[in-house]
């Protein structure tokens, strides 16, 4: 087991290195110039050139690459080319908002999605099932930014219950929550759709398994069958599926941040992209990719724990 873990972890190292290289190259191949973005339109070409030198953009690519890797090795993400703020500080200030949003979204998804999934599975092909499936299909189909706009129109503009954008101070939990509701709901509804669907199919699978049938035939009370046998066993695939879909959820989280103008990693990424802030951009991309690698690793390892056969693969 330990050998497998070690091997699996070791495998991520070359992948991470390749990810870093790919990010570094992609970022620099893109047209546009951070010096122009930083200086604005009044600057002369001379000033732009001077700034390029100061930013280190005149250095040969390989040297920039070595600097990038060396910095990462030291845990130094560098400074934003535009604002001069250390990227670590930028990320540090927005990351709590992103994590909070994602966590709230996943939480809503599990709290509402799991029971809904069980219910639809139990009422298979009846009205409740159709409603549940329609809802989850709609949730899987709706782009996060559009759902966000609809919620905004209803709750902020029509009813005026919630603020439209931004994020509350962490120092003021109530205000913080107040700002979180709509974005979390946006992400949460989409996540609910995923979880409902996964729970339903996992439950259907397990309800068809022999041991559940046996339990039923033994005359156990239906509710007990469902909870002690079926749902528990369904939980494992559900959780792993949540893990995998968390990756797909990243895109929705980015769009939610954009549409609600919340400070967050996704908006930081798009902002850095627009201003060609190479240094910030490459770090943010690496963080996202690193997150995916980590998630994959955890998912893989958890499979290994759940199903011992996988270890010997």
């Amino acid at each position: 087991m330990i050998a497998y873990v070690v091997r699996r972890v070791a495998l991520t190292v070359p992948i991470l290195l390749a990810v870093l290289t790919l990010v570094f190259l992609l970022v620099r191949v893109a047209p546009g110039d951070p010096a122009v973005a930083a200086l604005g339109d009044l600057a002369s070409r001379e000033a732009v050139e001077a700034l390029r030198v100061r930013m280190g953009l005149d250095q040969p690519l390989w040297r920039q690459y070595v600097q990038f890797l060396a910095g990462l090795g030291r845990g130094d993400l560098g400074r934003s080319l535009i604002t001069g703020v250390p990227v670590a500080q930028q990320v540090g200030s927005v990351l709590p908002h992103t994590l909070q949003l994602t966590f709230a979204g996943v939480l809503i998804g599990i709290v509402f999605g799991a029971p809904l999934g069980v219910l639809t599975a139990l009422h298979r092909n009846r009205l409740l099932d159709y409603l549940g499936r329609t809802f989850s299909l709609a949730g899987l189909s709706v782009p996060a930014f559009y759902l966000g706009i609809l919620l905004m129109l209803l709750f902020s503009i029509q009813l005026r219950w919630f603020p439209v954008v931004g994020a509350g101070d962490f120092a003021d939990p109530l205000e913080n929550l107040y700002y979180l509701v709509l974005p979390a709901l946006t992400l949460g509804l989409i996540m609910t759709a995923y979880v409902t669907r996964m729970t339903r199919s996992a439950m259907l699978n397990i309800l068809g398994e022999d041991y559940v049938r046996t339990a039923r035939s033994k005359g156990l009370v239906e509710r007990r069958v469902i909870y002690t046998h079926a749902f528990r066993n369904a939980l494992i695939p559900i959780i792993s599926v949540v893990g995998i879909h968390a990756i797909e959820l990243i895109g929705s989280a980015v769009m939610t941040e954009i549409v609600f103008s919340r400070p967050g990693l996704g908006r930081l990424l798009v902002g850095a992209m627009m201003r060609r802030d190479y240094i910030a951009l490459q770090s943010i991309m690496v963080i996202y990719a690193g997150f995916v690698v980590l998630l994959n690793l955890v998912t893989d390892l958890s499979y290994g724990f759940i199903d011992p056969r996988i270890r010997y693969e």
């Binding site: 339109d41 002369s44 000033a47 700034l51 604002t83 001069g84 439209v164 798009v270 201003r275 060609r276």
Partner: protein, 533 residues
Amino acid sequence: MKTVLSLFCTVLLVGSIAWGVELAERQLLRIAFDAGDLSTLDPHFAAATMDRGVVDMIYNGLVRYRPGNIDPEYIEPDLAERWTVSEDGLTWMFYLREGVYFHPFPGYPDGYELTADDVVYSLEKAADPQRSGYSGMYGGMSFEALDEYTVRITLAEPESPLLFLPKVADYSGGFIVSKRALEENGLDWFRSNPVGTGPFAFAEYRPMDRVVLVRNERYFRGAPVLEQVEIRYMPDLSARELGLRRGELHLIEGLREQPWVEKVEGLPEDLAVDVFGPGETHVVHFNTRVPPLDDVRVRQALAYAISREELMVFIGERVTQPLYSPVPEFLAGGLTREQAEARGLLYEVDRDKARALLAEAGYPDGFGVDVIITEMASYLSPTQAIQAQLTHVGIAKDLRVVEHSTFHSLIRDDLSAMVHYECWRPNADVFLTHFYHSASRVVYGERPITNFSHFYQADYPIERARVALDPEEQTGWWKEAQFRILEDMAAYPLYILGFVYARQPELDYVHDLVAIAALYPQITEKTRILAGS
């Protein structure tokens, strides 16, 4: 008599209670700019609107524009109490105010007193292309501290006060920064930790969210009324608007279109909308090197195909003013409608004439032209409207929309046949030099800036105007330069787009909003929030 007097006194008393100002309890001002984040708070790099505003509250210049008014006529003392200029116009002496203190920064919990040393350091920084985006304005100048409170600036060529004073005013390179803060902490630190002498001191920056400024109790004009100013970065208009309507914000950057102005004025919340100058000129520059635009008849045809009036209806007459020459008419050297018309250079829409000119140039069926444009609404909207207008004479304008910084890179690489440009420049010289002097030609010039037309026929008048000390002679040369530009139709001036902000009526700037160099309504030490009605 006595009763009349007492009645008069009563009226006065009642009047002063009614008219006297009652301040709101909390003097916390919240502004929202149309931006996702700041770019830089180094005043010598700050160019974008959202940065200029913040920098304006933190820093001072040697001299300053009167709050709310950009007219160089009203330039008044700021950090310098007074100044003199030698007769040859080459040597300027500035005598500094004593007892001006910089904001606190690490190692200096009480700041320190500003001296000539800081001023010289600051102006040298502004003149250094490595450390400033405005170095071009300070070429050939040298700066010396004669004693603690005296600064001498020596020019290579004489400049009229009209051209020189804005360079040391509270605008762009003229802002005075703290030498010690910069030397001890470095430029990178300084970019997001500004240290100045202005009414508000920097307190906090949260990326993608806000900047917080606090009252500078030791401000040399007296402690500001406002305790704190919060600048929010909110790129979404609906969000800013709702924030204002809900009372969470006091002042927001609006949409520079008339329908929006009218909508906000019609809202039940009783909000005020300010439309003010100087605004930004909108000009279409034609690339005179690219066929078929290398033919003057084709460029004139384009000009006759565009309807300035229709564009202004589209954007709205309350937020635009017609522009008849590259330099706006309210600046010295700008052309009025009559002056342009007298020379036959008005180019009012005349599509038959446009078609005739096209036929004459050998394009009876029109042609296609590739144009690069930014996705920013104030550029993109009129560009699309012009695109629709040009189809009437058979010209197909193919747009390539890119994001804003890429747009600026690409047009500077001479890649667009037509360049729609929105900008504000402090005076006629900068407008004309940057856009129409041969040295400024993109790619090919000696100091390429923004001459997208590759125009070179006005070098002589532009240069003569620059060194002319007599105002009348100076404006004469500037006008001559513009006649040449319009005759050759190197660029078609469209309109000046004003700035639009909406606010709570309780927010009182104290100054009148006419035109502001910092391109926002300007918050000073006097700005206050009145008690709500």
